[in-house]
Symmetry: C2
Subunit: 225 residues, 2 copies
């Protein structure tokens, strides 16, 4: 009896249609300006129908964000080339590549300012922390290999690299670069400069390391209504 299966497939198809429509609309109109009614109209369903697939508009975004983070994090584990420095370079280069290959997901995850905060969905996005721990371990391997000074705080290093790359990607995607400027060069420069700075062994003051992060309490910004 393939009926249950077909029903599930149908349901999954509608769910996908909602997500695809939402992704397109969110990235062209901005999350804030997209209403449930617009999504419903796009997939030719009534607005209320969507609520039998997602409990809220925010949850549609969370589903898309989860897809995005899995897309970004998954293949990061299988980068097993060359020395530690090259591997680190490659890993963070991925962050930039992702912004170019999946601009819609990236825009939703990092540049749209009208989107709800994922900090609330702690369990759901716990796997992102797993990816981060992996990056920290990579830096630690670099320290053991003598590439970085032993005094270097791996978590701080990861943060520096991440924030820099994120900045370039956002700048690039939001068309804030000058006409002649090449985002690939800028991304490469950010990695190079930051890595060079980390290698100099400049005195770092930070003591308490934060591998885990993610705000449990919301601040200025969206609050669950």
């Amino acid at each position: 009896m393939g009926i249950k299966e077909r029903q599930e497939r149908d349901r999954e198809a509608v769910r996908r249609a909602i997500l695809d429509a939402a992704r397109d609309l969110f990235t062209t109109e901005g999350y804030r300006n997209v209403s449930i009614r617009k999504i419903a109209e796009r997939i030719e369903y009534s607005p209320a129908a969507i609520y039998s697939y997602f409990p809220s508009k925010d949850d549609i975004f969370f589903a898309l964000a989860e897809e995005g983070f899995r897309l970004l994090g998954d293949p990061a584990t299988c980068t097993q080339t060359a020395g530690p420095l090259e591997r680190i370079r490659a890993i963070f280069w991925r962050l930039y590549r992702f912004s170019r290959e999946h601009p819609q997901y990236f825009a939703l995850m990092f540049v749209d300012r009208s989107v709800p905060r994922i900090g609330r969905e702690y369990e759901r996005f716990a796997f992102v922390l797993e990816t981060k721990r992996h990056l920290v371990a990579e830096i630690e391997r670099g320290i053991e290999a003598g590439v970085f000074p032993a005094t270097l705080n791996p978590a701080v290093a990861v943060r520096l690299l991440t924030v820099g790359l994120l900045g370039v990607a956002v700048l690039s995607l939001s068309e804030r670069l000058a006409p002649g400027e090449d985002p690939e060069c800028l991304a490469s420069d950010v990695i190079a400069t930051t890595l060079a700075g980390l290698q100099t062994g400049v005195a770092l003051k930070s003591t308490g390391v934060a591998v885990d992060c993610g705000a449990k309490e919301p601040i200025a910004g969206e609050r669950a209504s």
Copy 2:
């Protein structure tokens, strides 16, 4: 006849009351969750009254953002101490200090994700570019003094430092740091590491320099309705 003057004062007082109420509400509830009605109720006026002071809810934010940017940028010009490296350190340290001394303005300007984009109000926020040009000039002075290699792109340097500091401030203000972690140390580390990296003269690929920035066209995110 001080009547006109008193009328103007009254009007200015109401305007200030609106801005103060809005600033408080925006930073505690989040821009998105604050309605004109809530602001009106706070200042004991009708919702419609507000529209004779500001053309839209977004414009209330723009007014606050402008105040914030002026607060942040103004005293940056009178930092005339010590050598170029110390001056640069001091200038960017200001960015961090600002986030602690004016957390409400900072949250509105950089961490609240539900706020409208200022890219649209190009003329109004042109003075921010002026401040940025000042930073670039400071880096150039550092190059002339031999602190940085001649190959260094000043605009890229400014961007690296800015994005790093911004990251720390946001992290700190949104309570994303681990319990033991000191934001001041982290901020200091970011400046130190980035400056060290810039001084090494690591190869930079970027060619087209962008002193001016600010998107004229909106992307994913709020669009003028």
